[in-house]
Symmetry: C2
Subunit: 397 residues, 2 copies
Amino acid sequence: MIRFSRSVNAMQSSAVRELMKVASDPDVISFAGGMPNPDLFPVGELDEIYASLSLKDKQNGFQYGPTPGYPPLLESLREYLRAKGLPVDRNDLIVTAGSLQAINLTAKVFVDAGDSIVTETPCFVGAISVFKFYQAELRGVPINEGGVLIPELDKALNGVHPTPKILYLTPYFHNPAGIVYGPERQRQVLNLLHHRGDVVLIEDDAYGELYFEERDRPVPMKAMADDSVPVCYTGSFSKIFGPGMRLGWLLAPRDVVRKCELAKQGVDACSSTFTQVLADAFLRRGMLSGYLKRLREAYARRAKRMLDSLEAHMPKSVKWTVPRGGFYIWVQLPSVMDASELLEKSVRRGTVFVVGKAFDPQGKKNDCLRLSFSHTPEDKIDEGIRKIAEAVREKRQ
Amino acid sequence: MIRFSRSVNAMQSSAVRELMKVASDPDVISFAGGMPNPDLFPVGELDEIYASLSLKDKQNGFQYGPTPGYPPLLESLREYLRAKGLPVDRNDLIVTAGSLQAINLTAKVFVDAGDSIVTETPCFVGAISVFKFYQAELRGVPINEGGVLIPELDKALNGVHPTPKILYLTPYFHNPAGIVYGPERQRQVLNLLHHRGDVVLIEDDAYGELYFEERDRPVPMKAMADDSVPVCYTGSFSKIFGPGMRLGWLLAPRDVVRKCELAKQGVDACSSTFTQVLADAFLRRGMLSGYLKRLREAYARRAKRMLDSLEAHMPKSVKWTVPRGGFYIWVQLPSVMDASELLEKSVRRGTVFVVGKAFDPQGKKNDCLRLSFSHTPEDKIDEGIRKIAEAVREKRQ
């Protein structure tokens, strides 16, 4: 008889992935996936990059690369991060397979089975998967429009034994909540971590470049913190180039990165050199800033369209966040309503979204849902929201 | 104070990776890396593929793909594996980041800390890293020119408690030993596993396509076994397309693949879709067979060159395997000699290789070394071997 490991019991299929089967039906209007819009991918830039590659570049792309990353990409990435004010020279950088792998490697080097991790509620579903992979105990702390609630965070970090190993936050254009931390809240978080070092902050900045207005451009906590706070800053090419490249990064204290590098040797040896060659050319040829301008305009327009539709169709009892960047709107249903029941009614009408409990570290809280405005054909947004609103009304009768 | 996980203590820097710093010096003749020769990469084919990609193909390449793999690649890969006689329809297939990740996911779903795994001695160094990542206990079984020694394997599987969870073998053009299992040895291995199911066989076939003569084309055990033996068959595009693509696969019983898919959701969500689009086109356009023909001829020629040089320069007390495929020759030194000391003397002469203990699951046995003939400039092979021979002679005085 096959004897699986104990840890497989902790792994569950992500609700988001399961839903993708329904969402991929072309007749269904899907607000479910956190995918970029394919029409926005920089295909023209890619053609230009490919045409410019030398024989040597292509041979490098076919070959193994060093575990921490393709050296030219590490160089251009350092330049990019330095320009964001990040302390590149007092930390080390490693290229990962998306920011998900950066979170995974960090968890690997800190977490033993049974250790606890503090997250926001709601929390990025991929991070929940990672932490369960390592059999961590998750403690969720509620958030409001301005970020994690400080008294509750204080309690989660200081009121329980043993002290959590990791605090995981997605402060900028939060997935799924769509919110962004202001500078005051950032400072309060850092104050709780100041001069202790026993709690590592994973600052997940996958969406930070996708602000709609210049005034909402985030300054990462990694750029604000002094070295007494171990901040593991993760980022991704998934939202600023393409997720199919599977490239992200971790900027963290040297001894953390060194251990992540050792772990990565037993995970995949290195990330794809081929896509690293492409990403390096994309940065080096200065293509990112023009591309980001296009993305910000497109996603801002889509967000506005969805907000207008919510305003027009939803009953007054339904509330939602107003995003200033990113891909998501978080919808709060009346507390008697269950998002899974609403999803069933919505699917019958041909529209899907992700239910709230997928993002709850405890897998329970379900009076809320995530709408993604990134991927749906723009002219279908209003129709889809109208159908969900009809489903809400049916429910309430 | 930063509190790392207990598992980081089990992670060590691979001796191979460390050596790469020396090996990358252009004045050093390196037989160290297990890298394909860059001049052999199918750059012409890649240009042809890129030129043929549609806008839709490129958009797909930029986007997330399903966790088990890009559907067109899964289809062309199934076709390829079916043609090798593998039971594709009674098993499931998942695309991984190299075969290293296939081994990693399999270990994840079977191994709890302290479980034991049986390997060959010597053993692929990447697999040793993976198994240590999950804090497994390793038991090595010696091999000879025809494969693992059956009485010793029997003892390792049946003579100890608790029974090992996994038997990991690299039967075809072994890394580092360069040997290949014959059909009789394959059957003896399968007999030991027949009708028990408590031991999973990982059959690592990263090099199977690189036979030098048609008569040495391997038939995998996965194709020979009945369903009573759970065989997890792993393979890789690293040696037949390029390691920089980071693509491999696992063909295994459905419930194993299903669990590996769940694990992969928390590892990297999916492998690079971009490189999967390229690999699919490579298979689908029938480019593989012509490319393999070129590779087999080139590596056979390089192997012969190294064998001739060994014959010409080495003292009689040094023995080596005669590879019939793959990248490696395994050298047995006189038992009084230590490969690390020999490496020091060789480095001073400008030549490097990997010492035997890197491939010993216990990290000790060091009267042997691995020479790779895949990557060194062909006209440097003789000079490099001559220098090592000189170092051997110096040692013996």
